[in-house]
């Protein structure tokens, strides 16, 4: 499903070169639930951006669902993000003053899907938010907003769900709720999920934990169920 081979990423901040990734090899198979852990500065956000096709690697190969995306242009990357990737962000990133339903519909609008309304309603139902479809983000609790964001990530039926600190802005009760939802999506709907976190108890929900340090993979452990 996902295959990174010798991926490096070097930023230039003024005159200083920052080597955020120094050669990462990582394979994620269909149906996996992987947590990527690391301290800040370990390169996990950069890895997330590359896996999410928001950025391209400086060198190395990145094959997503059979497509080498390392050398695509901006519009092609936008298309890949639209079709194959679902993002869940720490700060939910729903569009304000826009109903939950419309937020969930949005990826389908860019995809030009004529059945977007019914598909968006299905996705909201799947995250248990069907009764809040007409509410705007400001009228929803943090947990509800994150569920709407998960529905938006799922609505295009993407190859992979990328969750960047999805519980970072939530209280512990909502955090558990969200993690249970992700676990259920992985176990009962065979969703491939890559989770980025620095919290061990959140990473514990995943079946595989990859630890990053200084732009390299330090540790890759599968949890025995």
């Amino acid at each position: 499903m996902i295959s990174l081979q010798g991926v490096t990423k070097t930023y230039r901040l003024g005159k200083v070169e920052v080597r955020a990734l120094r050669g990462v090899d990582l394979d994620v198979a269909r149906g996996e639930f992987v947590a990527i852990m690391g301290a800040s500065g370990s390169g996990k956000s950069t890895l997330m951006n590359i896996m999410g096709c928001l950025d391209v690697p400086t060198s190395g190969r990145y094959v997503l669902d059979g497509t080498d995306v390392a050398r695509l242009d901006d519009d092609q990357l936008a298309r890949i993000r639209n079709r194959k990737i679902g993002f869940v962000f720490q700060s939910f990133n729903l569009i304000p003053r826009t109903t939950a339903l419309h937020n969930v519909e949005m990826p389908l609008i860019y995809a030009g899907d004529p059945n977007r309304r019914s598909r968006a309603l299905e996705a909201l139902e799947a995250v248990g938010l069907a009764d809040r479809a007409g509410h705007q983000p400001a009228e929803l609790s943090g947990g509800q907003q994150q569920r709407a964001a998960i529905a938006r990530a799922l609505v295009t039926n993407p190859a992979i769900l990328l969750a960047d600190e999805p519980t970072g802005n939530l209280d512990s009760a909502s955090s558990v709720e969200i993690m249970k939802l992700l676990t259920e999506l992985n176990e009962h709907h065979a969703r491939t999920i890559v989770l980025i976190t620095h919290e061990h108890d959140i990473a514990a929900f995943a079946k595989r934990v990859v630890e990053l340090r200084d732009g390299l993979i330090l540790n890759d452990q599968r949890r025995v169920a």
Binding site: N49, G52, D74, D75, R79, I109, G112
Partner: protein, 415 residues
């Protein structure tokens, strides 16, 4: 992303900042309203001038004396020479060399105080011949015009225009009354029907008498001058031919071989119309251009507000890009928003400008003046709307492109 969706997004974006959107729109609204109103004023003036020239009479040709050039090439001022005579008029009227001229009349003007009972009024008295109503296209409201016999016998009779009647007689019936022009008694035998139009030497402010009587009683012994000859051609298409024929006759009679040395000049109604139209068009253009400046200012206002909007919504742009919006999608969204602002402002501006233009003639201060009623033209409305949408497009491109080129990662990080 389809157009309907883009419009919906643009509309909700504008609704989110109602005051700001309204103020931005106001800039375009005022600009467009100013263009519509001022162009309508220019148009109205043009149409009024046209009507007045048309009221001079159809297919009319004016013959003025002009400054004859002497051997030394010294030319005198316009109208200083008195080169036209009654014999010229008769030659033109004889019809032998000018089949396309229907009739020609002499005009001799004399200013004077006109009195009736205790009323007095100042107007030029026009001395002419019996063909005057035919050539100058006047209808009689009451009485009759004077005849060739009146002219031959120097009868002291006058026919008055409506403006003169109103000023001298009020509600009294003027027919048969005697008025005094420069203390000479003249009997009113007819009244012209109103021709309408104001300013530019009103066609209703006339006092017409036999030319012989004007010479005899009003010219103060200055002789039998003809200030101008007015001829009418048989139709609009023969005006040019008639002009040539009149020129030939007069050159012959004045014994001038070189037409460049002619001591008279001709002007047709069409010449005057063409001149007046070019002046009116220039006036309309200048008024429109002045108003157009405010449109540009409005456009800059739109650009300014769109730049603010793009900065404010950087995060939203990042989200949209993360979930699959392409460069084109973001560009379209912000362009449509800018065009929606300017287009709606333009439509409201057209409504305001047209309403002001239509309402203007009903404002007492304007209704009582000779200010021409503004006329809103359809092309100016379409152009103003097109230009306002175009302004949205032009001033929207830069901010929209700035939004569309934002990098998704940086846009998402933006607080």
């Amino acid at each position: 992303m389809n157009l309907l969706e883009a419009l919906r997004v643009a509309f909700s974006g504008l609704l989110a900042n109602r005051l700001r959107s309204s103020l931005t729109m106001l800039g375009i609204l005022i600009g467009v309203a100013a263009v519509i109103l001022l162009v309508a004023v220019g148009n109205g003036a043009g149409i009024q001038i046209n009507n007045q020239i048309q009221a001079l009479g159809a297919n009319v040709i004016f013959v003025y004396p002009s400054n004859a050039r002497g051997a030394g090439g010294v030319s005198q001022g316009f109208g200083t020479s008195q080169t036209l005579t009654m014999a010229d008029v008769e030659a033109i009227n004889s019809g032998q060399q000018d089949p396309d001229v229907v009739a020609a009349i002499p005009i001799a003007q004399s200013g004077g105080q006109i009195t009736y009972a205790n009323q007095n009024y100042f107007a030029q008295t026009t001395g002419t011949t019996a063909a005057f109503p035919q050539v100058r296209n006047y209808q009689l409201a009451e009485g009759a015009f004077f005849t060739d016999d009146d002219v031959a016998s120097q009868h002291r009779v006058v026919v008055l225009g409506q403006t003169v009647v109103t000023n001298l007689f009020g509600t009294t019936d003027p027919l048969g009354q005697t008025i005094k022009i420069n203390r000479q008694s003249f009997r009113v035998i007819g009244v012209f029907a109103a021709k309408g139009g104001t300013g530019f030497g009103s066609q209703d402010n006339v006092v017409v008498a036999p030319i012989s009587a004007v010479w005899a009683y009003l010219s103060g012994g200055r002789g039998k001058n003809v200030n101008m000859i007015v001829a009418s051609a048989s139709s609009a298409s023969t005006v040019d031919a008639a002009e040539t024929q009149i020129t030939t006759i007069l050159l012959q009679r004045h014994q001038i071989s070189d037409p460049a040395q002619a001591d008279f000049q001709l002007q047709s109604q069409q010449d005057i119309l063409t001149q007046a139209n070019s002046i009116a068009t220039a006036l309309t253009l200048v008024l429109g251009a002045i108003a157009g400046i405010s449109l540009v200012v409005g456009g800059i206002g739109i650009m300014n507000i769109m730049l603010v909007t793009v900065t404010e919504r950087t995060r939203e742009i990042g989200i949209r890009k993360a979930i699959g919006a392409r460069w084109r999608d973001v560009l379209t969204q912000f362009l449509i928003e800018a065009m929606f602002l300017s287009g709606l402002g333009g439509a409201l501006g057209i409504a305001l400008g047209a309403a002001l233009a239509l309402e203007a003639p009903h404002i007492p201060a304007i209704a009582n003046s000779s200010f021409p009623p503004p006329v809103v033209s359809v092309p100016s409305v379409l152009l103003a709307f097109g230009v306002s949408v175009g302004i949205g497009l032009f001033f929207g491109i830069y901010p929209a492109n700035r939004a569309a080129r934002l990098h998704p990662i940086e846009a998402l990080r933006h607080e």
